[in-house]
């Protein structure tokens, strides 16, 4: 069985692509044949985060329009041979993605015995975002602890339970998870940022993971290596935990507390 997972958020720039790259990499690392698809037509970025931008020859839209086969367009990851990237096209034609076309690609991935297909949604609630979620079995809603992101996530949760194939068939929404990213425990403790409990309570869906704000994320995107590869970084470790939970591991949440400072630092700041 192939499981399709959409990474979505409504609001832009909250960490969907960062998350798609790390979750897909983590699933492959755990032995599952995985494809990660960039649905952000016109604003291709996943290829950069995955570090395969120079190997893109054909893209998602080429496959949909029968200009290339899926095999030709799938880019095999440098590190894991069970991980593939399907790049978004740089066309400005937003109509290039069609529901039938997307369905055909997903069916072909299923026939090719992929275990997971991770769909990196564009921001907003327009066509690309709609198609990214439409066929999903599960959803990971990426949210930052900030008012507009939380509100947009709730909007997306509403769409997930009404505007997907599952919902239209009356099967109800599939599992939905919250992934809280760019979390800063120091600011939470200072009362400057909503806590994981606040966000969980407002949105009322379970938390898959909390990814701390980390300098390592920029370093990872600079070098085109998904941050989950960086076992030293707390963001990488938090993503590895989230992958574990997706696969059913029971793991405690980490990195929710501010690192304890010594007396000197407390008195004189950092």
């Amino acid at each position: 069985m192939t499981e399709t997972i959409v990474i979505t958020s409504g609001k832009g720039g909250v960490g969907k692509t960062t998350t798609s790259a790390s979750l897909a990499t983590g699933l492959a690392r755990r032995g599952h044949k995985t494809a990660v698809i960039d649905f952000d037509v016109g604003l291709r970025n996943l290829d950069l985060i995955m570090g395969c931008e120079r190997r893109v020859v054909y893209d998602f839209v080429n496959v949909i329009q029968n200009e290339a086969t899926l095999k030709q367009a799938l880019i095999r990851d440098k590190r894991y041979d069970n991980l593939y990237v399907l790049a978004a096209s740089q066309t400005r034609d937003k109509e290039a993605l069609t529901q039938d076309g997307v369905e055909r690609v997903l069916d072909e991935l299923a026939k090719d015995s992929f275990d997971y297909v991770v769909c990196d949604s564009p921001a907003g609630i327009e066509k690309g975002a709609h198609l990214a979620m439409y066929f999903a079995d599960r959803a990971v809603v990426v949210v930052n602890p900030e008012v507009s992101s939380v509100r947009d996530s709730d909007r997306i949760l509403g769409l997930l339970s009404s505007k997907t194939r599952r919902a239209e068939k009356g099967e109800g929404p599939g599992p939905q998870h919250l992934l809280l990213t760019r979390y800063n425990p120091v600011r939470v403790e200072a009362g400057e940022m909503m806590s994981v409990h606040d966000v969980e309570e407002i949105l009322g869906i379970p938390i898959l993971g909390v990814i701390p704000e980390s300098e390592q994320v920029l370093a990872a995107s600079n070098s085109g290596v998904p941050v989950i590869h960086d076992a030293e970084s707390i963001a990488g470790q938090a993503y590895a935990d989230a992958v574990g939970r997706l696969l059913g591991d029971d793991l405690p949440m980490r990195f929710l507390e501010a690192p304890k400072k010594g007396f000197f630092k407390r008195m004189f700041g950092t």
Binding site: E146, V147, V150, R151, D154, R155, G158, S162, V188, G191, E192, M193, M194, S195, D198, E201, I202, L203, R266, M267, F268, G269, T270
Partner: protein
């Protein structure tokens, strides 16, 4: 907190403010989410009419769309302000 922070005016606990605002707006948007597109507008116009007569908060009008086997029921509730004890005029 560093020594310098003691000298600065401390910001309020804005995380609590964010949480309370979100609680209200999310509940409001959920109530009208699956309903027709005119519900939010209807709600606002009702609010304006009510405000001609009594002063109520912007979140005083709650709309709920209930679906049952017999059809849909639009439920409106208006929280009126507490009546202050009449002052002897």
């Amino acid at each position: 907190m560093s020594l310098l922070d003691f000298l600065r005016p401390r910001p309020k606990n804005t995380a609590n403010i964010a949480r309370e605002r979100l609680r209200i707006i999310v509940a409001q948007e959920r109530a009208t989410r699956d309903g027709p597109d005119y519900l939010p507008l209807l709600r606002n116009e009702l609010l304006e009419v009510i405000r001609k007569y009594v002063h109520v908060d912007t979140d005083a009008v709650q709309i709920n769309l209930e679906r049952s086997s017999d059809g849909e029921v639009l439920e409106l509730s208006v929280a009126l302000p507490e009546v202050k004890a009449a002052t002897g005029t």
